[in-house]
Structures are given as structure tokens and as C-alpha cells.
């Protein structure tokens, strides 16, 4: 497995060899463009794919299968992309993606490292770097182990949903639904410690306790 949620940020540093990925991407390039000026061809262009909700890119006629996955809340994070290019049909049924998949985890990692360099918004956080960074904060295991109270999270979430949409759509403000709980907690602690730079998020996170962050992670992680 490419990464467990717990280690997502950490292992993502070494997600793969983007240069080798560029060569491997030639397998994909007959259908997909990526990079400056990329346009939709047989498949949609792949700029900004990291963190985008499935079937969310305007103007491309997605298959019913991908559209359904998008409505179900599929977001193209590292794990989902990895699963998809390992075996597209295993993750989403009925798509036009005529590709058998990469069996070798290293091939997948390298292609994803290459694609990630064209995504401004890994994890859909606008100020994060285009390529993955080391885990931003070291949290004691007991902090990460807190099981959040989703009911409390639901109340607290009402502060978030003045900007972030509950249905996971993202227009100028990123989606925060369906994150693995630990990724969510790590990101919030990074804002709280002012390691991530966004002033609104620093302010909002600064007064959340460990339990409150866990509660929000539990609530948003489980949203349909």
C-alpha cells in the first residue's frame, strides 16, 4: 500500500520519482494532457487533479460512473488516485478509462509524483506546496489517538460551513469533507501552530482544543 492515512504526509515526501513518472506518463498521454496549456482530449486534462472531487472539472463529458463517484463524494487524493491507476475498474465501474493499471507500486508512485507537480492544491489546501511536504507537525500518539465526538463535531462544524461547503464542492474555498481523520487533525494542528500560513485558518484553529479538532475530523470525515 502506498501510504496509510497516518503516514500520508510523511511518506508523501518520497511519493516517487517525478522524472521517471514523466516518462511513464507517455502511457497516459494518448488520452490525457497535463501541464501548461493542457486541454481535455479523450480524457480530461489532469492539471490540479489532486484534491479535486471526481467529475468536478467543468466542460468534460464524464461517464456516468465517474459522475456517480463524484456525487458519492470521491475526492482524488493520493490514496484514491493510487487505487485508481492500480486498477481503474476496481475503484469506479463503467468509466471510459481503457487502462489495465500499473501493478508495480513504484510505477504508480512515480506517475503520481509527476502529476502532483501539476496540482497546486494537494489535499485541496490552496496554500500547500505543489509537491508534498514533510509532515508539518509532530503530534504525540495520544493526540492522534483521540476519538472525536461526531455530535460535538457537528455543532463545531457550523463555524466551518459558513465558508466550506458541506457537500464537498470547492469553489475558491477547499473541500474539507471525507479526509482521513489523521490528515485532518494534522492539518488543523499545523494551522494552530501557525505552520500553515492561511490567516483565517490559523485564527479558527488557534482556539480549537485537541478534542475539538478530533471531533471535527470525525464529523467531516464521515460526511457523505
Amino acid at each position: 500500500m502506498l501510504c496509510t492515512p497516518a503516514l500520508a504526509e510523511q511518506e508523501a515526501v518520497e511519493i516517487g520519482d517525478a522524472e521517471r513518472g514523466a516518462i511513464l506518463f507517455e502511457d497516459c498521454a494518448s488520452c490525457h494532457e497535463v501541464g501548461a496549456g493542457a486541454e481535455d482530449r479523450i480524457g480530461p486534462h489532469l492539471n490540479g487533479i489532486f484534491g479535486r472531487k471526481a467529475a468536478a472539472h467543468d466542460g468534460y463529458p464524464y461517464s456516468d460512473g465517474i459522475q456517480r463517484a463524484g456525487r458519492d463524494g470521491l475526492v482524488w487524493d493520493l490514496r484514491r488516485l493510487d487505487a485508481y491507476i492500480e486498477n481503474p475498474k476496481a475503484l469506479v465501474s463503467g468509466t471510459r478509462m481503457n487502462f489495465a493499471g500499473y501493478d508495480d507500486p513504484k510505477d504508480r508512485a512515480d506517475v503520481l509524483a509527476y502529476l502532483r507537480s501539476f496540482s497546486d492544491n494537494p489535499q485541496n489546501i490552496p496554500e500547500a506546496q505543489p509537491t508534498a511536504r514533510p509532515r508539518e507537525v509532530e503530534l504525540p500518539p495520544e493526540t492522534l489517538a483521540i476519538v472525536g465526538d461526531p455530535e460535538y463535531g457537528e455543532y463545531l462544524s457550523s463555524e466551518c460551513t459558513g465558508c466550506h461547503q458541506r457537500d464537498g464542492s470547492a469553489q475558491g474555498i477547499p473541500s474539507i469533507t471525507q479526509w482521513p481523520a489523521e490528515d485532518f487533525a494534522i492539518a488543523m494542528h499545523a494551522y494552530k501552530r501557525k505552520i500553515r500560513p492561511h490567516p483565517v485558518m490559523q485564527m479558527m484553529a488557534s482556539r480549537l482544543s485537541d478534542e475539538e479538532i478530533a471531533a471535527l475530523a470525525a464529523y467531516f470525515g464521515a460526511l457523505d
Binding site: P126, E151, Y152, E154, Y155, L156, S158, E159, T161, G162, C163, H164, Q165, R166, D167, S169, A170, Q171, G172, I173, P199, V200, Q202, M203, M204, S206, R207
Partner: protein
């Protein structure tokens, strides 16, 4: 209450529900009436209906069928939004279980706990939520009253007034003069008048570049002042003149028939005059007898009126402490009130009140700035905890992202309000 057929049937078929919620069914379904379908009222109605899952009957009284947000209306003036982009219907609220009544609330009987409607209806309530927004203080700008709002629009409630003001600006003669009389504190949307000046300048720069803007402002200082002044110099050099109180702006009157603004006795003839008068709580608060001075004092813990604990007041109409009067604030306060109302009526869990606000303003295309803060409830007031503001000299990328973020916020808050 009268035990009508619907209630009777509801009780009969709802036996299982009655067993799980005996308190509720024993007393009949509690009723909440919300007056005003804006950022405070729509949010509160939706959250109570959604979270009480039928245990509370929620009625929203709102005269208009299409709500035009006042927030983002300046962007319509600047040409960055269509008027239709600002319109929202109440279908989503109805689908969430809110009984939407399009009528004016004309009176409140606090002893009988009823709301009277202009159409003759009477709505009983267990809890009342008032979110009526603002009305204007008569004679705060001598010479102006509501009968002059077509000659000199306020455009400080979204909709037809906003359209009128923009049409007047577009019809200005070449090299003509636009004037704004800015309001004294406190008023809805502290950066609003200055964002409007920016958007008028943007519109004129493209359509009538020799036109001038006169800003008559009774306040010494204003929100995001350094950011606006920097932006005006950068984008609209020489177009905007601000007259503050030290040059007579606290002594202003207008003559709408002659299109004259008199500043400390000196007459200025203008082509368009946007008068934003001093403000007060929507008049229904006064009629309910819950105002002190111009506003309705509330407790920050629950947004309950300090005069009547069965009434919660939200948003611009309140005197609550440190939060600015904004759609964001009203939306934030609505969630605290919704939680408190549910707690009181159904015994649901109540958590400590938390509030936040962020106000984005657009200075020119892709040049957005913001200011925000978090707040908590103390016994005395809603008190500021922490805050931030955009900095002068920020690079163009950050300003563009800030603007794009404001578009995301608009989509987010309107979805949160209307479902």
C-alpha cells in the same frame, strides 16, 4: 393552542416518536417563528428544522420571495456579479422542513407569544427569532428620508435599490460627479461603503474615466482604511476625494430635488448621490419593545434578548458587543441561537457559544482584501478573541487568491443559509 386535526393525527401515528421524546409530545410540538429570511434568519430556520428532525415546528416570515444578498451587491455595481447571481429563493428552506410564509410581520404580542402578520394571520410561538436587519434613522441626514430614496438611493439593502444606483452611475454625464454620504458608526458592513467607492470607481474608470467621486464621511477612521487608501491611489489615482469630519463632513445635509449635498454650509452639485443614513434595528424590534437606543441588546451565550428570554435576536439588529454587523456575523450568531433554542425546547445538548467573522472586500479586479476575528460569549458581551487583517503591499497573487476565496465564501454561506 388549539388541538386541531393535524396535531391529533400527528400524535396518533407518532406513538413511537412520542415514547422516545415524551417531553416534546406531551407539550405538543414546540413552535419557533423566525422573522426575516436573511443571513441570520434563514440560517437559524434551516438549522433548527434540520437538526431537530421534526421535533420543532419552524415558520419563517419573510415578505420577499427572492432574497437579494446585500453582501456582494457592491460587486454587482462594479460589474463582477450579475444581479441574478445575488438572488436566492426559499425553496431549499421549504424542502428542509421550514414553513415559509411570505408576509410582513407587523406586530409582536410578547405576553400572548404571538406574531401578527400584515395579511391578518397570527402565529403563536414558544420561541421567537428576530433577524430583521436594519432600518434607517429618520433625519440622520437632514433633507433625506425614505421618500427620497429614488432620487438619492441608499442601496444599503440588496435588490432594486442596488440596481437603481448602478443605473444612475451609468447614466452620469461625462466627467460628472458621484457623491456618497457615508454613515456614522455603528452600521451594517463596516467596509461596505469603501468597497462601494472602489466598485463605483472601477465602473467609472471603464465607462466615464473623467468622472469624480466625492466621499463625505462623518467618521475619523474607517474599516480597512490603509488598504483602501493604498488601493485607491494605485488603481484610481486622482478620482476619489474623501472629506472627513475635520472638513465639515459631520455637518451634512442634502437636497434631493436639486441634487445638492451641503457640507458645512457649502453646496456641492452632484449627478448621483448615494446617501447611506445612520441605522437602527429593523423596526419590528422597536415594536416588540426590545430595543434600547437604536439596537436590541442580547446575551452572547444564547443570542437571547436582554428584555425577553423567549426572543432571540440576530445579526445587524443586535447590540451584542464586539462583532461587526455583517452577513457572516449573522450566520455565525444564528447557529448559536439555533443550538440554544433546540436545547431549550427539546433538551438537546448545548455547547459553549463560539462566533467568527470574516469580511472580504474587492478594491479592483483581482485585488481582494479581508479582515476577520473570532469571538466568545462573556456574561457582559460577545468579546473578541483573536483577529487578522490583510496587509498593505501584499503581492498580486495573494490578492487574487483572496478575491477567489471570497467567491468561495459566497457560495458557501448562501448554501449554508438556503440549503
Amino acid at each position: 393552542m388549539t388541538l386541531n386535526r393535524r396535531h391529533f393525527l400527528g400524535t396518533a401515528v407518532g406513538t413511537a416518536a412520542a415514547l422516545s421524546a415524551p417531553m416534546v409530545m406531551a407539550a405538543g410540538t414546540p413552535r419557533v417563528v423566525v422573522i426575516g429570511g436573511g443571513a441570520g434568519g434563514a440560517t437559524a430556520a434551516r438549522y433548527i428544522a434540520k437538526d431537530s428532525k421534526g421535533e420543532i415546528e419552524v415558520t419563517l416570515v419573510e415578505p420577499t420571495r427572492s432574497y437579494y444578498t446585500c453582501f456582494f451587491s457592491n460587486l454587482y455595481i462594479g460589474g463582477f456579479q450579475e444581479i441574478g447571481d445575488l438572488a436566492h429563493s426559499y425553496g431549499g428552506l421549504a424542502a428542509s422542513g421550514v414553513n415559509v410564509v411570505h408576509d410582513w410581520a407587523t406586530g409582536i404580542d410578547r405576553d400572548a407569544k404571538t406574531v401578527t402578520l400584515a395579511g391578518g394571520g397570527v402565529l403563536p410561538y414558544d420561541r421567537l427569532i428576530l433577524s430583521p436587519g436594519i432600518d434607517f434613522v429618520d433625519e440622520s441626514v437632514p433633507g433625506w428620508d425614505l421618500s427620497a430614496q429614488n432620487a438619492m438611493p441608499h442601496a444599503y439593502k440588496g435588490g432594486s435599490q442596488t440596481e437603481l444606483l448602478k443605473a444612475q452611475i451609468l447614466a452620469m454625464p461625462e466627467g460628472g460627479r458621484f457623491a456618497m454620504v457615508a454613515p456614522p458608526n455603528p452600521y451594517r458592513c463596516p467596509p461596505g461603503p469603501y468597497e462601494r467607492i472602489s466598485m463605483v470607481a472601477h465602473l467609472l474608470k471603464a465607462n466615464n474615466p473623467t468622472a469624480k467621486i466625492l466621499l463625505v464621511d462623518p467618521k475619523e477612521k474607517y474599516s480597512k482604511q490603509a488598504l483602501f487608501e493604498e488601493g485607491w491611489q494605485k488603481h484610481y489615482g486622482g478620482m476619489i476625494e474623501r472629506i472627513g469630519p475635520d472638513f465639515g463632513a459631520s455637518n451634512v445635509q442634502v437636497n434631493p430635488a436639486e441634487m445638492i449635498v451641503s457640507i458645512d454650509g457649502v453646496d456641492e452639485k452632484v449627478d448621483v448621490c448615494n446617501v447611506i443614513p445612520a441605522q437602527k434595528a429593523g423596526v419590528i424590534c422597536e415594536r416588540a419593545g426590545i430595543t434600547e437606543g437604536n439596537w436590541a441588546p442580547v446575551s452572547g451565550h444564547t443570542m437571547q434578548s436582554r428584555v425577553d428570554e423567549n426572543i432571540h435576536v440576530l445579526g445587524d439588529a443586535t447590540d451584542q458587543g464586539d462583532m461587526p454587523k455583517s452577513g457572516f456575523s449573522a450566520n455565525s450568531q444564528a447557529k448559536v441561537a439555533a443550538m440554544a433554542v433546540r436545547g431549550a425546547l427539546t433538551g438537546s445538548k448545548v455547547f459553549p457559544a463560539k462566533f467568527s467573522n470574516t469580511c472580504w472586500s474587492l478594491i479592483d479586479a483581482d485585488d481582494g482584501v479581508k479582515v476577520g476575528a473570532t469571538y466568545e460569549a462573556t456574561d457582559e458581551k460577545i468579546a473578541k478573541v483573536d483577529g487578522f487583517i490583510s496587509q498593505t503591499g501584499e503581492d498580486a497573487d495573494l490578492r487574487r487568491i483572496t478575491y477567489e476565496e471570497s467567491l468561495g465564501w459566497y457560495a458557501g454561506i448562501t448554501a449554508d443559509m438556503f440549503g
